[in-house]
């Protein structure tokens, strides 16, 4: 009977045991089938591509290197590891990191580049001396989207793992790792004896497998039940996975430190976090330090407790030598080496939170947030760190001694592809918060006028650049019966003025008259084609910019002008890869012709006039007139909003300044936003704006006095572009005294030589 009961109990125990094991076995299997770790998404800036003849400002370049996490060394001999650079005046030596660009995988390599007069004159391979056509550098990390656990890691495979490190871990943490079955009974017994003697649970006997099981599935609390569970788990792990797989998982899982809220997991990230290096590049003493930290990442934190950490490191080094992992000579060398921990973790905060905000919003339209934070996506953006830094400096420089309540929103895009290169959402760039570039919708003021003048120029049978419109007082009836009487900024009326002059000087009264003649529907239609139709109701006051837009929306419509009438959706993301290198999504350039290129050309000519001689003239203080920037100033009622939108041959930028409480900020478009635009453009490379002449444009020689055609030898005649077929038929021969003398005098120009492309209209279209 007793025997029966015993057998029964034994069978019951076995069933219980098996059942218990089965439970954990299932958990382990399920876990390893799915995603092992939540990996944060990495957001990269555009990789810097360096090639001979490229415009590169040495100081801006060095700033980007620092943002890339490159550490400066004294000279090229000091470049022992990837991620370092040395600068001798304008010659840079780089030890570039290896990087997977998605479309190309490059290895670590040394290059030397020389810059002269802000231009790259030479790029070569430092070792072989061979010249390079182009070098792509690993990009700045703009930020990361962390999983809710705030765990961060850089996954590594066993193949990427230095063998010495693996051996050191086994030697220190679990000497019998390769022979046991997940648990090590001998060490457990030893631990029990020690703990009984000390009457505490101080001594652990966990194998690596147990530690992994604990980290993966169980709480950190020390209890007997957990310990038992841990043993079962470890057994299940050993059943399903090879020793190498377990070791690899352990190396990626283990916790190795804290950076604010961010938890540093795995050796891959720890190598970067403590030494700024790839795991493969670690020296023996550096490996020993990390292995030593397994015992207590905060207790042996080399930044907080360097002495204790070094003692621990040396202990591990000696142990490694005892196990014959290190020769006596390398042990000596390693022991004498300093800790060499890098100063600051470089991934702590995003350097560009406003831009990151933009990227995140675009991603959240297509991905759910939990996936975004856990899938380990590699996201390549269009951010240009040099432009971004220049933009932040431009804002800071302008606002330095001004009212602290003045805020700003700024966006820079490339003219060709409308990639967003920089975005500033407020006066303090590093902080983030309310993103004015995206969210501050403010009356656009005179920035709306180009839409009105385009609508006119697009009707060549009625309007040309030299058509005259009346700037005399006008009364406009609103739909509610009230009467609106717009006034000019200078509170004067200017009689009959040409379309050109009206826009160059941003006259309000004639603009309202022109807009009312064209009809509000036509204007809103134009705005819609440009990229942003205003919401109803459409009131006459919109002709002077009562329409509210954010800087990014304004950039959208001005880009359609900058691109010659081709609407191009703005992009902040180029491509997204999964951690396995698979391309998840590519955001490609698309364009759509929306506006008559001829009319856009005429309009852009006038916008160049705005900067050359009109309301945007003060830009000349910042950038050379040879750039022939086209732009428009905008000021809303009572100096509440200060705007400038403009473009060079290579970039477009829109700047808004004003106060969050919508009170007057005391700035006009020209005294505020334009100054920031100028500061920015003066610091970054720009090519001159050369407007390509569309097929449907021809030139006419015009007498500016009458607007009639005239002869080319009239001294005050001017060549004017027209949409083909709209050159005035009316002809007026030039008066005798105004003819240029045929010979003799021609050697001496009567007027100073034009210094920019727009001087041809200067003086003559008065």
């Amino acid at each position: 009977m007793k025997k029966k009961i015993l057998i029964f109990v034994l069978m019951g125990c076995t069933a219980l045991f098996l059942g218990y094991f089965y439970k954990f076995n299932t958990v382990v299997q399920e876990r390893f089938q799915g995603r092992l770790w939540e990996l944060p998404a990495q957001i990269y800036a555009r990789p810097l591509e360096i090639y001979p003849a490229m415009h590169l400002v040495p100081d801006l370049f060095e700033k980007e290197l620092i943002l890339m996490g490159y550490r400066q060394k004294k000279d090229w001999k000091g470049l022992e590891n990837p991620g370092t650079y040395a600068r001798m005046k304008n010659t840079f030596d780089l030890f570039c990191r290896s990087f997977d660009f998605g479309d190309d995988q490059v290895d670590a390599r040394r290059i030397r580049l020389r810059i002269k007069n802000n231009q790259v004159v030479d790029v070569r391979n430092a070792k072989s001396g061979a010249g390079r056509k182009m070098v792509r550098l690993d990009p700045v990390v703009v930020g990361r989207f962390y999983p809710s656990s705030m765990e961060d890691r850089v996954l590594i495979s066993l193949a990427q793992l230095p063998p010495l490190l693996a051996k050191a871990i086994v030697a220190v943490e679990d000497r019998t790792f390769y022979t046991h079955y997940g648990i090590d009974p001998k060490s457990i017994l030893r631990a029990i004896v020690v703990n009984l003697k000390k009457k505490s649970l101080s001594q652990g006997a966990s194998t690596l497998t147990q530690q992994l099981a604990k980290n993966f599935f169980l709480t950190r609390k020390k209890s007997l039940v957990r310990k038992i569970n841990e043993v079962f788990m470890a057994g299940a792990l050993e059943l399903h996975f090879s020793k190498d797989q377990i070791l690899e998982a352990y190396m990626n899982e283990v916790y190795l430190g804290q950076d604010g809220k961010r938890a540093i997991h795995g050796f891959g990230l720890a190598a970067d976090f403590y030494f700024g290096k790839a795991l493969a590049d670690l020296a023996p003493q550096e490996m020993a330090l990390l292995v030593g930290m397994l015992k207590g990442p905060s207790r042996y934190n080399p930044r907080a407790h360097p002495v204790r950490a070094k003692e621990r490191r040396d202990l591990v080094l000696n142990l490694m030598a005892a196990q014959k992992l290190l020769s006596p000579s390398s042990l000596k060398r390693a022991l004498s080496a300093p800790l060499d921990v890098v100063e600051k973790p470089r991934l702590r905060h995003s350097p560009f939170p406003y831009y990151l905000d933009l990227v995140k919003r675009q991603l959240l339209k297509e991905y759910n947030e939990a996936d975004l934070r856990a899938m380990g996506l590699r996201i390549f953006t269009t951010l240009d760190p040099q432009v971004q830094l220049a933009a932040e400096q431009a804002v800071a420089g302008f606002l330095e001694k001004r009212d602290k309540r003045i805020q700003t929103g700024l966006v820079v895009t490339s003219r060709a592809s409308n990639e967003i290169q920089a975005l500033v959402g407020g006066r303090v760039s590093g902080k983030g918060g309310f993103n004015r570039a995206l969210d501050a919708r403010r009356p656009m003021g005179s920035l709306v006028k180009p839409a009105i003048y385009f609508t006119a120029l697009d009707r060549p049978d009625m309007y040309t650049m030299v058509s005259r419109i009346s700037d005399n007082p006008i009364k406009v009836k609103n739909s509610d019966g009230t009467v609106w009487q717009p006034n000019n900024f200078d509170r004067k009326f200017h009689g009959n003025v040409t379309l050109y002059k009206a826009l160059v000087n941003s006259y309000n009264v004639c603009t309202v008259r022109l807009g009312m003649d064209l009809g509000l529907d036509a204007i809103t239609d134009t705005l819609g084609k440009m990229g942003q139709a205003p919401p109803k109701p459409w009131l006459p006051s919109m002709l002077l910019g009562s329409i509210e837009m954010s800087p990014v929306q304004v950039a959208r419509i001005y880009h359609t002008l900058a691109s010659g009438g081709f609407y191009t959706p703005a992009r902040a993301i180029r491509v997204i890869y999964t951690p396995d290198g698979e391309r998840l999504q590519r955001y490609q350039l698309t364009i759509e012709q929306r506006l008559n290129p001829g009319a856009v050309f005429l309009l852009n000519k006038i916008l160049q006039g705005v900067v050359a001689q009109g309301t945007g003239k003060s830009l000349g203080k910042w950038v050379s007139s040879d750039l022939a920037v086209a732009g428009k100033t905008g000021t809303s009622n009572g100096y509440r909003d200060s705007w400038f939108a403009g473009f060079s041959g290579s970039r477009l930028a829109v700047v808004w300044m004003g106060r969050d409480d919508n009170r007057p900020c005391g700035l006009t478009g020209a005294t505020g936003a334009l100054q920031v635009f100028g500061r920015l453009m003066s610091k970054i490379p720009n090519s001159p704006l050369v407007l390509a002449v569309p097929e449907n444009v021809e030139w006419g020689i015009i007498d500016p006095e009458t607007g009639a055609r005239t002869d080319g030898n009239c001294s005050d005649a001017v060549s004017v572009p027209f949409i083909r077929g709209s050159v005035p038929e009316r002809y007026r021969p030039c008066a005798r005294n105004s003819q240029v003398q045929e010979k003799g005098k021609t050697q001496l120009p009567q007027k100073p030589k034009p210094t920019n492309l727009m001087d041809w209209l200067k003086d003559v279209l008065k």
Binding site: Y51, A53, D103, M134, S417, L589, Q593, E695, S719, P754
Partner: protein, 160 residues
């Protein structure tokens, strides 16, 4: 290989303007690069109308363009398009880059984009009539594929 720097180009263009502006009978100091001969003004007789954008390409752009061509020939149109986008970031006004993009889209059957990109290339290729014709061929084909045969015929005429 000796590369012409952008500074050298700027100087060259400035000299071009300078010489142009020194010529007889300047009309109100117009450094006009685009005086079509049909205007028949004295200036077009005396001022040698400089070719718009007839500058040779910087070497890096040549490199990227031939890379894109290779990718296209080896059956990787997406990679080629990506390479051309990189080229645009170096010089967004090169009509050949836009033309090749148009060709890629046409090959991929994205006719709307093919048409737009070819039109864009055309706005920049005043100095290259042969490229213009090629663009019109792309446009004509794209229009035909979209069932706009009348417009397509007009475009075809321009490509001749």
């Amino acid at each position: 290989m000796k590369a012409f720097s952008s500074i050298q180009w700027t100087v060259f263009i400035i000299i071009l303007f300078f010489t142009a502006s020194c010529a007889d009978h300047r009309v109100a100091s117009i450094p006009q690069t685009h005086l079509p001969p049909e205007i028949g003004s004295p200036s077009s007789n005396t001022v040698p109308a400089p070719h718009p954008r007839k500058k040779s390409r910087p070497p890096i752009l040549d490199t990227l363009i031939s890379k894109a061509r290779k990718e296209l020939n080896s059956g990787h149109p997406d990679a080629a398009f990506q390479t051309l986008e990189r080229a645009l970031n170096i010089d967004g006004q090169d009509p050949l880059v836009w033309h090749l993009m148009a060709k890629i889209r046409s090959m991929q059957g994205q006719y709307g984009q093919a048409e737009s990109l070819a039109r864009k290339s055309n706005t920049l290729s005043a100095g290259s009539p042969s490229l213009k014709k090629k663009n019109w061929r792309v446009i004509a084909n794209a229009l035909e594929k979209q069932g706009r045969s009348q417009e397509s015929n007009l475009a075809r005429q321009k490509s001749m």
